[in-house]
């Protein structure tokens, strides 16, 4: 199979820069070297993460996202989105991972996968969907990021950056409390930005492929994600939110082609569940 090279569109909003500006490079390197010499204390910047760490970081990033975008505190809508999400997640490579799904009360187009199994979709993105199969396709893509541990690379990269930055700030007088606790904070800050921005093109492509598979295995129409991408393409020129999204996330056309190829090979029709979707989301579709 052709390796994913599609640009993605993990579906993202504009984000703020991670505040690394103003750092003196010489101090950063010197501080980083001092930290590296500390052996065990800095080991965490370079080793793999495990699930408890993923979850704890995910909680912190969720708090950060919740501070930027209002959470839709509608129990029925949240439950419905989570039911569809769980049906899809159960088909993933990590069916034992606890997933949490919620809706951000924003007209922006976005769906965000946070480490630890926290997945958000905006009201604006839901408004572009027409049935449950489409929602399953989009959520399947997000579950894919977590199932394939795409956050691990980002977490390790952010840990390295944080270690270097905190090392520069405190020099040789560091202790676990004075250095590594700020390092955790910086890691979470960077992760939050990364979660909103999306992953690499290859990772987004991988998530498209596995997300398609999860949705189909859960009994949904294979064309769900394809239909969402098609809607993005068709409406991009007419609607500001869509065109804004597409300008920051190029590659929708390539992703669409890849999904069309997958749909053409699919052998089962699957369900669309349009009536249930419209009924469940009626409270927010009218806004």
């Amino acid at each position: 199979m052709r390796r994913a090279r599609w640009a993605l569109g993990g579906i993202g909003i504009a984000l703020l820069a991670v505040g690394c500006a103003g750092l003196d490079v010489g101090n950063v390197i010197e501080g980083g070297m001092k930290l590296i010499q500390s052996g065990d204390d800095i080991k965490g910047a370079f080793t793999d993460i495990d699930e408890p760490e993923e979850v704890e970081l995910g909680r912190a990033v969720t708090a950060m996202i919740g501070s930027r975008y209002p959470l839709l505190r509608d129990e029925a809508v949240t439950r419905y989105v989570a039911l569809v999400g769980n049906a899809v997640a159960l088909q993933s490579e990590r069916p034992d991972m606890r997933f949490y799904f919620a809706v951000l009360d924003s007209p922006d187009l976005n769906a965000v996968a946070v480490s630890g199994g926290y997945i958000f979709v905006t009201r604006g993105a839901l408004a572009l969907m027409r049935d449950e199969a489409t929602l399953a396709g989009v959520l399947g893509h997000e579950v894919g990021h977590i199932a394939l541990r795409h956050h691990a690379k980002a977490i390790k990269a952010e840990k390295r950056k944080a270690a270097l930055k905190t090392g520069a700030e405190v020099g040789a007088s560091f202790t676990r409390a004075s250095v590594l606790t700020p390092a955790i904070g910086l890691t979470i800050d960077g992760l939050g930005e990364a979660a909103l921005k999306g992953f690499s093109r290859e990772e987004e492509g991988e998530s498209d492929v596995v997300g398609f598979r999860y949705a189909v295995a859960a009994g949904y129409d294979p064309a769900g994600l394809r239909d969402f991408l098609k809607t993005l393409q068709d409406r991009g020129a007419k609607e500001t939110a869509v065109s804004n999204f597409m300008s920051t996330h190029p590659g929708t056309e390539e992703r669409l082609k890849a999904q069309e190829a997958l749909v053409a090979k699919a052998t089962t029709p699957g369900r669309r569940n349009q009536a249930r979707f419209q009924q469940a989301l009626a409270p927010i579709q009218k806004r």
């Binding site: 080991k43 965490g44 910047a45 080793t47 993460i49 495990d50 699930e51 408890p52 760490e53 979850v55 704890e56 970081l57 909680r59 912190a60 969720t62 708090a63 950060m64 996202i65 919740g66 501070s67 959470l71 505190r73 129990e75 949240t78 439950r79 989570a82 039911l83 769980n86 049906a87 997640a89 159960l90 088909q91 993933s92 490579e93 069916p95 034992d96 991972m97 606890r98 997933f99 949490y100 799904f101 919620a102 926290y118 449950e132 676990r176 590594l180 606790t181 955790i184 904070g185 890691t187 979470i188 189909v216 295995a217 859960a218 009994g219 949904y220 369900r271 569940n273």
Partner: protein, 161 residues
């Protein structure tokens, strides 16, 4: 002759018992594994296993197994979390090690992490509203609701891992 036969039989029985134990004993390969009341991540947690702990396999179904834990609790875990060979305890998250206790080896610290105490501290320091996390975690569908939904969407026909 009779003595030799008896010895051989005893040896065979001992060997069989060892082989059977090897077939049903597994060791936890991950830092922390929740043992749940059903085959899904949304079921109630009945016990929490730490890396290196030994469990006995009671039943296998798909990619899931029922295990008996060292605390005599019985529940489901995903088979990929277990190893057929002994696993050394420890070696877990560096992140959680930074807080008091060590979540990779301490059940108390692991449960503190599970409650989000470290994330709460971070949110408080940054001025973020942690009730967002509490709300999201507290408003997910129950296991009966998910099971009913799966039946309705045809997920059962697609099977589960």
């Amino acid at each position: 002759m009779r003595k030799a036969t008896l010895l051989m039989a005893t040896a065979l029985v001992a060997m069989a018992a060892t082989l059977m134990a090897a077939e049903t004993t597994r060791w936890v390969e991950r830092t922390k594994v929740d043992v749940r009341a059903g085959r899904g991540s949304y079921y109630e947690v009945v016990d929490t296993l730490l890396k290196g702990e030994q469990v006995e396999i009671v039943q296998t179904e798909g990619g899931w197994v029922t295990v008996r834990t060292p605390r005599e609790k019985v529940g489901w875990v995903f088979a990929a979390a277990l190893s057929a060979k002994p696993v050394q305890p420890g070696g877990g998250s560096d992140f959680l090690k930074l807080a008091p206790g060590d979540a990779s080896t301490s059940r108390t610290a692991a449960s503190q992490g599970a409650k989000g105490l470290y994330a709460q501290d971070y949110a408080k320091a940054k001025g973020y509203d942690y009730t967002v996390v509490d709300w999201v975690e507290g408003h997910q569908p129950s296991s009966p609701q998910i099971e009913a939904f799966l039946e309705d969407t045809g997920e059962t026909a697609g099977g589960r891992r």
